[in-house]
Symmetry: C2
Subunit: 385 residues, 2 copies
Amino acid sequence: MREVAIIGVGMIKWGELWEKSLRDLAVEAALNCLDDATVDRVDAITVGAMSSGLFNAQEHLASVVSDYLGKRFTPAIRVESACASGGLAVKTAYMEVASGLSEYALAIGVEKMTDVDGGEATFALATAADQDYEAFHGITFPGLYAMMANAHMHKYGTTLEQLSQVAVKNHYNGSMNPHAQFPMKVTLEQVMTSTMVADPIRLLHCSPITDGAAAVLLTTEEEAKKLNKPYAVITGIGHATDTIALCQRKDILKLAVVEESAQRALKMAGKTIRDIDFAEVHDCFTIAEIMVMEALGMVEPGQGGPATMNGLTALDGDFPINPSGGLKSKGHPVGATGVAQIVEAVSQLRGKAGQRQIKNARTALTQNMGGSGASSIVHILEARQ
Amino acid sequence: MREVAIIGVGMIKWGELWEKSLRDLAVEAALNCLDDATVDRVDAITVGAMSSGLFNAQEHLASVVSDYLGKRFTPAIRVESACASGGLAVKTAYMEVASGLSEYALAIGVEKMTDVDGGEATFALATAADQDYEAFHGITFPGLYAMMANAHMHKYGTTLEQLSQVAVKNHYNGSMNPHAQFPMKVTLEQVMTSTMVADPIRLLHCSPITDGAAAVLLTTEEEAKKLNKPYAVITGIGHATDTIALCQRKDILKLAVVEESAQRALKMAGKTIRDIDFAEVHDCFTIAEIMVMEALGMVEPGQGGPATMNGLTALDGDFPINPSGGLKSKGHPVGATGVAQIVEAVSQLRGKAGQRQIKNARTALTQNMGGSGASSIVHILEARQ
């Protein structure tokens, strides 16, 4: 298998972007990425988007993007795995290069969620759950994660304060990220007293509805070396699925899909979790970050909350998590999230993360999740040069 | 790059399948495929579906399918490129194997289109066009292809009879296909006098709305040899995109995306169109089959109609097209179509196509198109053993 490197990353400022269309978002992030790479060759495009059909009445999105990027005739494919669509766009671009079909593959993640109203957005997001056995009966994602949070509190004694500290930490990190949708710091009290959404989950425990895009350019390591500047290599990819419905898991407190995908990625990279310097993980709700920490093997089951309170995952902690601000502060345009995680990881590995730079960051892990844990993709990235 | 073989194919009877759900269709085709392959190992699943969001309010479809197929933890990804989604599911499975990430990859195509009414289906299909500059203004696919048909008739003298003969031929072939939705023969007069849809396109010039699924199992050629039975190898893949909007093409009578994707696939396979024994192509409307013949280089521009009348593309002609009955007779569950084309090609190459078997079929071409020609994927398949 050919070694695959990431030689360029592109972001845009995320938010409620009324003045930009779906295609504008994708193209702007892609152009920023190509500028960053100082390369204009693109042999294949992958586009991660969860539901441009329900949000924007636009399927066939990869052809729209290649067209408006000025890359007529370029092979382009959209990939989807709910909120893990972005991570899978990167995996698919990796396969383009690793298989030898392409030398340069551009992975773009995009979602424009504010073209519909809040109720329609909630409906669209609920299609990531089991339509026949979950969504049809009225459950939505805050409800699914609230059940996990309640069970976690009951079994392990996880507290509202611990759930809230995840938000405090991630907003602190996001306050230093110029692309974040909500780059303001929040206090524990603000989080703990914010509007109730689905008990015990409050507004500031949730990631927001966001318009956004992100892009990364992949090529062979051989080509990357020619550019004579720092780059990252993808040394591990782990991808797994689990039951689509939460109720069909043996243990709803164990994100088995995260454990499985992380173990596969670490094995491929020849690493253990102790070799990882920092991670970007899928904090769609703050309870998710706590459960992902446990599934990754960073802490014992039930210890995610206390470890967060103790500062383990802070920017200056022993294992920083979500230096970008995470989904919580940076925003969560669902299809873009997995690509943006890679953008942050590469920025840190290249020492280009500005005020939120982690010292001596050489090895990163990204974890992108679909639904209530029905899919997960983990990438291991390592700095080169 | 590792050589990739197809060792199993699975179909189900297509039609208006009220008694089956979206997931039932995919799982049934997949199980038929695994039975055919006499292999149960699946390292990765790809699912081609155009719009399970708009048709069934179910995104995250690959996780649904891996779950209900009993393949928990298997990496699964949905891919989409409108009506070319199925072909891209096969390409993505190919990349899983060729890259070395997987040894066995299962590609499934599926669409359940009759869960919504006709107007909603037309709306969903129109999202394959440019939403901002085409669909929003009311154009739908019969209209887009009617414009191409009218221009073709005007420039080349293509006749209504020629457009209709494509349907007569494909229904004749489909009458021998036990999986076809409309396996009845039709006469030229029936086609030419059927209900007007969008002048000059009449009802029997259109592919139908269909529920269906298809599946193929890919592995390395090395593994395929161990099974000691006929299989096919994928020797060429060509994938391209063009402008999403029809109005932005320099020449709407030339399917440049088909020409480009076919040339790429033939080049990779080291073949010319003269080396191909038969083809399955994207006859979403009968004018499309005529234009695809021209774009493939089988005939000169404008000669697709006369060549069809002369029997070139009949089952016993020099270059049979759509022995399966094509989208026209077999049906067109959009995401399933590209996979079903490969199923037919492999069946023919293995000499297992029953009454519609083409003699001495050794090399096949499949061509799967998205929208009005904004994406196309061509596979070249060759018989082995």
